[in-house]
């Protein structure tokens, strides 16, 4: 590969001038620029990004840490982040934290040692204090799907409360009044918020909360299966089932098939997240759309604005969910 030195010799200018036309951060006379560009083209020159990084202490790389690389969720996220940075000439280094504290910390250290200019973190296990400390060390990062008070300006989140509200309101508007709820693990922030939204909707429609109609699931398919079994076993009356995510909704629907409960005729089911398999479920799952792609893109913009100094970039910190009506919900009666 040709180096900047060879380009400068061929163009008959100094190294510095070539560097200037590459970075276009200092004016260069038109005629000189043309000469340099011709030389670069002739040699098929491409700047060595490693050398650029070392000299400028900018790596043009952004570290992305997500819980899992597979699964229905993160692909969309990565896709949008990559597209945004690619357009800006930056590249993306990925790592998986597997929702495990020590792995998450290790991954962050790993990415930091890779001289990433910034980190986009989707972390679940690491503590708020750790993140605050990290920020104190001067590490530039954005948090996705997590809100930390002291780091509020670097959190891009979904309005989970409103999502929970929308899901239950959807059922109420369809005329349902006996609504069972399958929550996520209550120690998780988003699970709690979604549940609070559910309560708000019930209150708005003057429906009394029946504690027996709430089941704490695990955000997995099994959670939905267990929830349905539990509600039926206790002989509870309900015509609608609100699930705090799509996996659990899928589990509940699978169980319902086995028990010959017709969906949505006998039971309306709504999920949350709108993961990519939601429309493969039969009947196609009505759910709350989590615009994870938009959130990823916004995180990338945050980096472009704050780390790569494009102050005009507009940042939206909170995203609003919406109902995606498909075939698993049905008017009451």
């Amino acid at each position: 590969m040709a180096t900047i030195y060879e380009v400068s010799k061929l163009a008959g200018v100094s190294l510095a001038t070539v560097s200037r036309v590459i970075n276009s951060n200092t004016p260069v006379r038109e005629a000189t620029r043309k000469k340099v560009e011709a030389a670069m083209a002739e040699l098929g020159y491409r700047p060595n990004s490693v050398a650029q990084s070392l000299a400028s202490s900018r790596s043009n790389s952004i570290g992305i840490l997500v819980s899992e690389l597979n699964g229905p969720f993160y692909g969309v996220l990565l896709s949008r982040i990559e597209a945004e940075f690619r357009a800006a000439g930056k590249h993306v280094i990925i790592a998986a934290g597997h929702s495990n504290e020590s792995l998450e910390r290790e991954s962050i250290e790993f990415l930091r040692s890779r001289n990433c200019d910034a980190l986009i973190l989707h972390v679940e296990a690491v503590s708020d204090d750790y993140l605050i400390e990290l920020s104190g060390k001067g590490c530039a990062f954005v948090l996705i799907n997590r809100y930390v008070e002291d780091l509020a300006d670097r959190c891009i989140t979904l309005n989970n409360h409103y999502g929970g509200y929308l899901a239950t309101r959807h059922m109420l508007e369809l005329g349902h009044r006996d609504i069972a709820y399958v929550s996520g693990p209550m120690w998780k922030h988003d699970a709690q918020e979604r549940y609070n939204g559910h309560l708000e909707a019930l209150a708005e429609f003057n429906v009394k909360v029946d504690p027996a109609l709430v089941f704490e699931g695990d955000f997995q398919e099994t959670g939905g299966e267990q929830a349905l079994a539990y509600f039926l076993q206790h002989n509870l009356k309900f015509t609608a089932l609100v699930c705090a995510n799509d996996e659990m909704a899928s589990g509940a629907i699978t169980s319902a098939h086995d028990l010959k409960i017709k969906i949505p005729e006998q039971l309306s089911v709504i999920g949350f997240d709108n993961v990519n398999f939601a429309h493969y479920i039969y009947p196609k799952l009505t759910t709350i759309d989590y615009p994870i792609g938009d959130i990823g893109q916004m995180a990338a913009r945050w980096v472009i604005k704050n780390v790569y100094q494009q102050p005009n970039t507009i940042i939206q910190e909170v995203f609003e969910p919406r109902v995606v009506q498909r075939d698993s919900t049905h008017a009451f009666g």
Copy 2:
């Protein structure tokens, strides 16, 4: 961040010695090593990977180019590749080619300019000649899911022919004789091979091929829908449907639901790939497992062996598919 220089001063040794204990490529006296390690620990030193790259002309980064970052397929692939390299202290840079020739070329150039030590490519649009030329330029890469004669030793593939054979044999063994086939776009190598496998199975069971029972789909859900509509419209008799991938199988099953065709009682359906949503389909989809994760891991090993010089690593170039029996297929009669 501390530099190697500060470590050397604190430990009372030269830069070179510190570098040696970092890389452990040259013997260092035990006592010296201990001193250096203590100094590194005290300073919280981590080598600057950019400087290492520049000096050693090894970036310890591997570029991964896949068609899409989302979708049911690539997450698993990335996940396994990342895990393998992570364990080896390497990192992974990702890019998406979107099955578009110029984007694929551009992405490859992008990754090359990032000084990746090697590339793992899942490319569909770029020509064989381009790849051969790339290899001639001394660019180290492995090809996933694509076989190029002249590059045979750097191709990790699935035995698609055998997979096609297995799918149809599965139906034949269940007693079906009237078997419709939905292929992928025939210009795609894998679609062609899967179809040839289908033909082989039919021949083995002495079943005559009925050209009317073959429909060329698009590897998307719509392909499956169109195929079913086509077969029914032409009043063809068939009790089994072999689809060249899971998306098309899903489309066919959705259409079947709408037409009140019972699966598997009236029609057995098998897919191909075993993507993550296959078991969300109702009934759970019987399919051919494509061990994409294993293939990714093997590609990573290829790099470790050939680029990072670990000659003992064993490489498996061709992977064998297998039948995953679920609920969408049923014995004839």
